[in-house]
C-alpha cells in the first residue's frame, strides 16, 4: 500500500528558509518506512531536486504549488497528503483531495500512524484494505 507525502519546503522543512520544524531525519524515516516522498513548493523545480539529491532521498515528484494535481495524476498511491505552512498549502491540498497537516502538526510525524493493521488510512478517514 502506498502513501504519498508531499512536503512544502520554506517554513515547513528544517532546510527551508525560514526553517520549519520537520527535520530531514523525519522525512528519511518516512521514506525508509515505505512512504513515497515528494515536494510541492514555490521553489524552482531544480532547487527542489537539488535539495533531495543533497540529502539522498529519492523524491518521486517535485512540483510547483499549482501542480499538485499533476503529482496526483503521475503517481499512483492509495492516499495522498500534503504538509505546509501557508493558507495556499491548505487550499491546494483541499482542492486536490490531499489530506493536509500544518507544519507544526508534522513535527509529530502523524503519517506514521496511517498504516493500520487493515491497510492505509486515507484523508477521508476510511481504511483501504491491503
Amino acid at each position: 500500500m502506498a502513501i504519498l507525502l508531499s512536503f512544502d519546503i520554506d517554513g515547513t522543512l528544517e532546510v527551508g528558509d525560514p526553517p520549519g520544524g520537520i527535520t530531514m531525519e523525519m522525512v528519511r524515516r518516512a521514506y525508509e518506512a515505505g512512504y513515497l516522498i515528494a515536494s510541492c513548493s514555490d521553489r524552482a523545480l531544480s532547487s527542489q531536486k537539488a535539495m533531495w539529491a543533497r540529502y539522498n532521498i529519492p523524491a518521486v515528484f517535485t512540483a510547483s504549488k499549482h501542480q499538485l494535481p499533476n503529482m496526483r495524476a503521475a503517481i499512483t498511491a492509495d492516499a495522498y497528503y500534503h504538509i505546509g505552512d501557508r493558507d495556499t498549502d491548505e487550499q491546494i491540498a483541499a482542492e486536490n483531495g490531499f489530506g493536509f497537516w500544518w507544519n507544526h502538526e508534522g513535527v509529530s510525524e502523524p503519517w506514521l500512524t496511517l498504516q493500520t493493521p487493515h491497510g492505509v488510512q486515507t484523508p477521508g478517514g476510511e481504511d483501504v484494505s491491503g
Binding site: 499549482h66 493558507d87 495556499t88 487550499q91
Partner: protein, 137 residues
Amino acid sequence: MPRPVPAPDPLSKPFWDACAQGKLMVQKCTMCDRKQFPPEATCRNCGWAFNLTWIPTSGRGTIVGYSVTYDTRINAWVPDQPFNNAVIALEEDPAIKFHSNLPGVKVNEVPVGAKVEVYFLDLEDGIKLPEWKLVHH
C-alpha cells in the same frame, strides 16, 4: 469573506452617492472639457478646482484587457481565487477606465473587445459597487 468595502471620503462621496442611486458618475472639468476618474481635488490638466463638476456617464464600455489573479495580497479575496480582473474603457471616453471582475464570466475566458454595461452590486454599509456585464445582442 465579503470583498473589501469602500469607505467614502469627501472627494469620493459624490461618486458613491451616485452609485447608490444606480448612476455611474465621473468628474469633468468644464473649462478643459475633460473627464477625470478617479476623482481628484483639482483638474489634472489645468490645475483648477472651480470648474470640476460631476456628470453621468453612459454606463457602457468595452473590455480592453484582463488579468487573472491567482495569488492576491488582499486577504478578503483569497477564498475567491482565481478570479478575473478585467479593465473597462468608457464608451464616450476610452481613456477613462474601470475595474471589473466580470461576475459570471468563466475564469480566463474574458472576451477582450466585447461590449459591457454597468450594474451595481450591493455591499455592506449601503455601498453599491459598479460592476460590468456583457451586452448580448
